[in-house]
Symmetry: C2
Subunit: 300 residues, 2 copies
């Protein structure tokens, strides 16, 4: 490779900043360097690639066609550098630290209390938690970037150990303004009459739901919208236009404070399991033992 002609990453960062902040001076401010330094970095990039990457359009600088390519490269590289740092951070394994990953719904609705309880019970141990998609979490477990995960789907990977955690249920709910509020039990056939807002179709909850519905012969529901967050769906249900299927644990609170109503459906009961997944490396880890202890007690 043309070692001597490699661009300087700070040149690329400068280009990116100029593009994204709309000017050399502002870019300099963002990068904590002066305006002349930024100008010189743009020059250096031009020279490095042998092309003009930006040109003045009036008093503003615009990317040239080549500039666009380089800018995209800059973004790619800098974004990856960012997530590299993140990954390296996750590699800092320590004896008293557990790197935990959870799915979005679990992170929103179950994790906060768990972490508080844990911190109280084991003040010397630390849990480093983050949310992510099931897929990504699996990868991170498998590649040693995390120690343990709480999931809505059991991963199937030779290096990942799974155990059951909680029984959950997918329930049909509506808001106070909906005609079915307080309706009691409805027949199965009525499901097709309703108007749905659901989590996106690749979420674990949807996988369970779609399979369960298919089992009882319902192939499609009238879905008005697919949304990425449970809380947003709960918001939308308040309007009274729609109903939704949601995991029970995530709406427990709304149900008890009467923010949502659970519509029972004759002959429909969708059970599922929440899972604890971990890597072999955590088998003798004290923090993970303590945390699993706590996970089990909270339910017992």
């Amino acid at each position: 490779m043309e070692y001597r002609s490699l661009p300087d990453l700070r040149n690329l960062a400068a280009l990116r900043a100029v593009v994204e902040h709309g000017g050399v001076a502002e870019a300099g401010r963002q990068l904590n360097i002066g305006q002349p330094a930024v100008t010189k970095r743009l020059r250096a990039l031009d020279t490095c690639y042998g092309l003009q990457l930006m040109q003045r359009e009036g008093r503003r600088l615009e990317l040239t066609v080549a500039g666009v390519r380089v800018y995209e490269y800059a973004r790619l590289v800098l974004d990856h550098q960012h997530s590299l740092l993140d990954d390296l951070d996750s590699l800092q394994v320590s004896e008293n630290n557990l790197r935990l990953e959870v799915t979005g719904s679990i992170g929103e609705h179950l994790l906060p209390e768990l972490l508080l309880n844990f911190a109280e019970a084991y003040p010397d141990y630390r849990i480093q938690s983050r949310m992510g998609y099931t897929r990504r979490i699996q990868t991170r477990l498998a590649t040693g970037l995390s120690d343990m995960a709480l999931l809505e789907q059991a991963p199937d990977h030779p290096d990942i150990l799974v155990q059951k955690w909680l029984d959950d249920e997918v329930v049909l709910v509506c808001g106070k303004a909906h005609p079915l509020w307080g309706c009691g039990m409805i027949p199965l056939a009525e499901l097709k009459q309703l108007n749905y807002v659901l989590r996106e179709s690749r979420s674990s909850m949807r996988v369970t739901l779609d399979k369960a519905l298919q089992d009882i012969g319902i192939e499609t529901l009238p879905i008005a919208m697919e949304v990425g967050s449970t809380d947003t769906i709960v918001e939308m249900l308040q309007r009274g236009q729609h109903v939704s299927f949601l995991p029970r644990f995530s709406v427990e609170e709304a149900l008890s404070t009467e923010g949502l109503y659970r519509i029972k459906v004759q002959g429909l009961r969708i059970h599922r399991t929440l899972w604890i997944a971990r890597t072999r490396t955590t088998l003798n880890n004290v923090v993970s033992e303590a945390f699993i202890q706590l996970l089990r007690n909270k339910v017992g």
Copy 2:
């Protein structure tokens, strides 16, 4: 972004070289710098990421866990830099230059002669050609990285104009050692008795072939192997174990020199079209006009 703490790309290149050439001294040789310089670059990377990336195992340097991540990042970044340079090269549009892309089979069997003829007829014009997969070619056309393409499949994109070029045919062939050499016509039903080596299933030829076979009620053939290159397949056919379906234009020569034999099949004739695709920007381009002229004449 942490502008001041960005790694130097040459540090990453050094890391990569050390890993891939198995030593600091050899890496230095590859990069045309001395061994001390390489060592210092490794040091600098360690400092930059705050972690040791390689450590001595005996007299050899091995990547640490963190080192593996950084090495992967280095590869990503440097490889993309490489293809960025390639792309920038393709942006060098000029009046007398045509950036042409062709699929593998066309590039191997039809292009060489076309280019020779063109160079002779229009010594002042230049054609810059490259081979690629249909998918990638379409993208490059659409994003302005190339001007024209010769394809086995017509792209469906609003900015890409297509016109028919040649009629082609997909034919069944075998080598001299095969029992069917010189057999004349065989019945359709015998197709399932043969043993096939075909182009990979996502190639344009296969798309045509699979569709045609399906139309006459043949869902699957006994495929012994899928191979990425027509020439390799022709090699393999010489062994006499297998037969193959191949585009006629790519075996024309082998058929006439008796390197291959075409097995006719009763009631099976698979026609298809080869296409000329180009972007709107080439509409007034002199080189593209001349080239299309030539493409049409060669066929008449």
